[in-house]
């Protein structure tokens, strides 16, 4: 049996079908996970997709982190299960403390929706494990609050432990150290602002996101 990936749906999430479709086309079983669910035992991995969870009221992710599903997401992450936050999902993971730092409003104070150049900075995460360091990818971003920010000690730790997984080749939003994606210390929790599911077929303009989605699926057990 293929691995099963759950895609979390908060009120206001809007990228769940893109994420599910892209993962399904790469061979995963997928199912949506409503944010009130508390039992994720059937899942091998969880994706928190993009959107505007709870309207992004207060701050992106500030309310979503208190949704009932987040306790189960935390348990899965602590057990080593892959948890991927894309865009709004990255913001949720930071607010929930599953990843360090925060996403601030873009330096130019404009909503950015465009393809960006990325460089794989580390393969020490479930998302980048099958990519190669220095590999260039073109994947769209679509956000208003994507400028990664953290204190100097956190940045030093991220760099020392090889936890910056993706960097922008031309920083679009004022992110510290050109950071587009980071991982936790075990590499099983990853947050990134670009949308790999939107770069999952040449028809979409780029299939560069596939190496990330395939990396995630390759990290999962095949159920017999």
């Amino acid at each position: 049996m293929p691995p099963t990936v759950g895609v979390v749906v908060f009120p206001g999430t809007n990228c769940e079908y893109d994420a599910m479709t892209a993962l399904q086309r790469r061979g995963a079983d997928v199912r949506p996970v409503w944010h009130h669910e508390r039992d994720l035992d059937d899942l091998d991995a969880v994706v928190l997709p993009g959107g505007f969870a709870h309207g992004d009221y207060l701050r992106p992710g500030a309310i979503a982190r208190f949704s009932p599903v987040m306790a189960a997401v935390r348990s899965l992450a602590e057990a080593g299960g892959p948890v991927i936050g894309i865009c709004n999902g990255f913001q949720v993971l930071c607010e929930a403390g599953l990843l360090p730092g925060a996403l601030q409003r873009n330096a130019g104070l404009t909503f950015l929706c465009q393809p960006v150049g990325l460089e794989v900075a580390s393969t020490g995460s479930v998302l980048t494990a099958t990519a190669s360091v220095g590999q260039h990818l073109t994947i769209p971003i679509n956000h208003f609050a994507g400028a990664y920010a953290c204190d100097d000690a956190t940045l030093a730790r991220l760099r020392r432990d090889d936890r910056v997984v993706l960097r922008y080749t031309e920083n679009p939003n004022g992110s510290v150290d050109d950071i587009a994606g980071i991982a936790n210390d075990r590499g099983n929790v990853v947050g990134l602002m670009p949308h790999p599911e939107r770069a999952s077929d040449p028809l979409l303009g780029s299939a560069d996101g596939l190496v990330l989605l395939d990396g995630l699926l390759a990290s999962l057990p095949v159920r017999v």
Partner: protein
């Protein structure tokens, strides 16, 4: 007793504030000279039922730190007014 609280959330020193910077850059065009260090923030008002001012302040500060502010970027200050 009910206490009215005002919570102010501002960016920590050293955190870039593009909104404040944009406002500051607009001021000379309006004829305002000599204004600097503009920092944007948010203000919240809430009523807290508590036994004492200290209790109300503690509740407001706690919820401000846990929810209203993201401690990575922001700090929250609480002001109380007896209702």
């Amino acid at each position: 007793m009910r206490f009215d609280a005002r919570v102010e959330v501002t960016l920590r020193d050293g955190i870039a504030d593009p909104e404040g910077a944009t406002i500051e850059r607009a001021l000379p065009a309006l004829g305002f000279e000599g204004v600097s260090h503009v920092r944007a923030g948010r203000s919240f008002r809430l009523a807290v039922d508590a036994e004492s001012e200290a209790d109300a302040r503690a509740v407001a500060q706690s919820l401000a730190d846990r929810l209203l502010a993201n401690p990575v970027l922001e700090r929250a200050t609480v002001e109380l007014v007896a209702g």
